[in-house]
């Protein structure tokens, strides 16, 4: 099974363990993730806040490159997914802006979570599990841009998505319901208005604790980073000590599949998840 893969800029940097775990999980599932040659940044939030032409043309160049390969385009980043989908919609409808980049719209653009949630993969996963995530209580955090707005993302469930919860259950973990599945973490305001991040991300951490989750699972590099890196600051403000591991869903897949190098990914986290996993006999 081959797909074109759009990694996005953070996979080589802050989300390195996401990239490493994706590679490992892809191999185990027999998926060839062919990196889109010569891809460029999608423009993230900054392009659509600054210039409409730029916000379509930057992702459009990638769509044009991907269409040549005539296979699904998969991306693990929520922001990249959102921008690629927005460009898809603009290029395949009557748009006021002509970016002069051809794209017919004959390939599917999918977030990695959506792609791996296909029925055949879920069935294949069941047979690959060597270490079920028993006794691990997980809350699934989808964030904003994987699901919203549904006119762009084509998501079926945007207020109460379930794909991550289903995946965690398949891996043997205990998926706990919580009301903040799609609440915003504050996104890129982390650099300019960190107080807002403390409040929004702090609410997520507090609710995860309230429902007695052991950890949070994410599918977005920026969500993971905001949740993982700010716990000390948020805790200091509130006088509470937070040490809630924040996983990428592919890391938990790798763990359940018994991948040998999981510790290498976990070592990269700011909140070290290894003590928790050891206490649950998962490491």
């Amino acid at each position: 099974m081959k797909v074109s893969f759009f990694p996005g800029c953070s996979l080589e940097g802050t989300a390195r363990e996401y990239g490493e775990s994706i590679e490992a999980v892809g191999e185990i599932l027999g998926i060839e993730l062919e990196e889109l040659p010569d891809w460029n940044c999608c423009g993230a939030s900054c392009a659509h806040c600054t210039n409409e032409f730029l916000s379509i043309a930057l992702p459009a160049r990638n769509l044009h490159l991907a269409e040549k390969f005539k296979q699904d385009l998969v991306t693990p980043c929520a922001a990249c997914f959102s921008r690629l989908k927005a460009a898809e919609k603009a290029l395949t409808s009557e748009s006021r802006i002509d970016v002069a980049i051809p794209f017919k719209g004959e390939i599917n653009i999918l977030h990695l979570l959506e792609y791996l949630s296909r029925k055949d993969f879920l069935e294949r996963m069941e047979k690959l599990i060597k270490r079920p995530l028993e006794n691990l209580k997980v809350v699934s955090y989808y964030g904003c841009l994987i699901v919203r707005p549904p006119k762009t993302t084509d998501a079926e469930h945007w207020e109460d998505p379930k794909s991550l919860d289903i995946l965690i259950s398949k891996l043997g973990g205990e998926s706990i319901f919580w009301p903040y599945k799609t609440e915003c973490c504050g996104g890129s305001l982390v650099l300019t208005n960190v107080d807002i991040i403390h409040r929004l991300t702090g609410r997520l951490l507090a609710m995860a604790r309230e429902v007695e989750a052991d950890c949070i699972v994410t599918a977005c590099p920026l969500c993971q980073s905001n949740l993982d890196t700010r716990q000390e600051e948020i805790g200091a403000k509130k006088g509470i000590k937070y040490d809630l591991p924040i996983f990428y869903f592919t890391e938990l897949m790798g763990l359940a599949f018994g991948h040998k190098r999981v510790s290498k990914w976990f070592r990269r986290h700011i909140v070290d998840p290894r003590p928790l996993l050891k206490s649950r006999n998962l490491l």
């Binding site: 800029c9 953070s10 080589e12 940097g13 802050t14 989300a15 390195r16 010569d38 891809w39 460029n40 940044c41 423009g43 993230a44 939030s45 900054c46 392009a47 659509h48 806040c49 600054t50 210039n51 409409e52 032409f53 730029l54 916000s55 043309a57 930057l58 160049r61 006021r96 802006i97 970016v99 002069a100 904003c144 841009l145 919203r148 707005p149 549904p150 762009t152 945007w158 609440e183 915003c184 504050g186 996104g187 890129s188 305001l189 650099l191 300019t192 208005n193 107080d195 807002i196 409040r199 929004l200 890196t229 600051e233 070592r267 990269r268 986290h269 700011i270």
Partner: protein, 196 residues
């Protein structure tokens, strides 16, 4: 009885640009507050989203463009998703930011547009974002570093930065993208597509 003549001579260009970009008649808004009720950052806003829509309709250009709201909006798309009249409010915020940036005036939350600029500058230069140079340029150009030296917050940032570095999360060398010339051309073309 005396005849009174009233001449309405108001410049509607601002409203028209927003309506044209958003592709939906903003007059459809019946002020139900759903956008503001679901907005996760409304607590930090000086104009709530439904007030922004109303103010545009009332041609209150300066009030909207000089607001804190347009920069505090996190683009989470909750308002757009839930609007019963299908007004793309997140896109309204985008257009307002674009017009404000083009005006050249200092924004109410000046760090946000500076962040956008340094982020886009790294893409323009190398086709992709290099997180480390973006962070460095942002701290220097926005005055963020100076501020943090005053407050002592720089110590927290340095500690976090070091942790990330030691965990291999900060890529030192900038990325290589062969298409960077094409990307640069996209930026040049974008210059010709301003809002106003």
């Amino acid at each position: 009885m005396e005849n009174i003549s009233i001449t309405l001579n108001r410049d509607t260009r601002f409203r028209d640009i927003v309506v044209e970009t958003v592709g939906k008649d903003l007059f459809a808004c019946y002020q139900c507050y759903k956008c503001s009720a679901g907005c996760p950052v409304s607590f930090a806003m000086d104009l709530l989203p439904h007030q922004v829509v109303r103010s545009i309709l009332f041609l209150q250009k300066e009030k909207v463009l000089s607001s804190r709201t347009i920069w505090i909006c996190a683009s989470c798309e909750t308002c757009t998703t839930r609007c019963p009249n299908e007004i793309d409010i997140a896109k309204v915020m985008d257009v307002l930011r674009q017009i404000q940036i083009e005006s050249g005036k200092i924004a109410k939350e000046p760090k946000v547009p500076i962040f956008h600029k340094v982020f886009l500058d790294t893409i323009k230069k190398s086709g992709r974002v290099h997180e480390l140079s973006m962070l460095r340029n942002f701290s220097l150009r926005s005055g963020d570093l100076k501020e943090k030296i005053k407050t002592g917050e720089w110590k927290n940032d340095l500690r976090l930065g070091l942790k990330m570095f030691l965990r291999g999360k900060l890529k030192i060398l900038p990325p290589k993208c062969k298409g960077k010339e094409e990307v640069r051309r996209i930026f040049e073309q974008a210059e010709e597509h301003k809002k106003v």
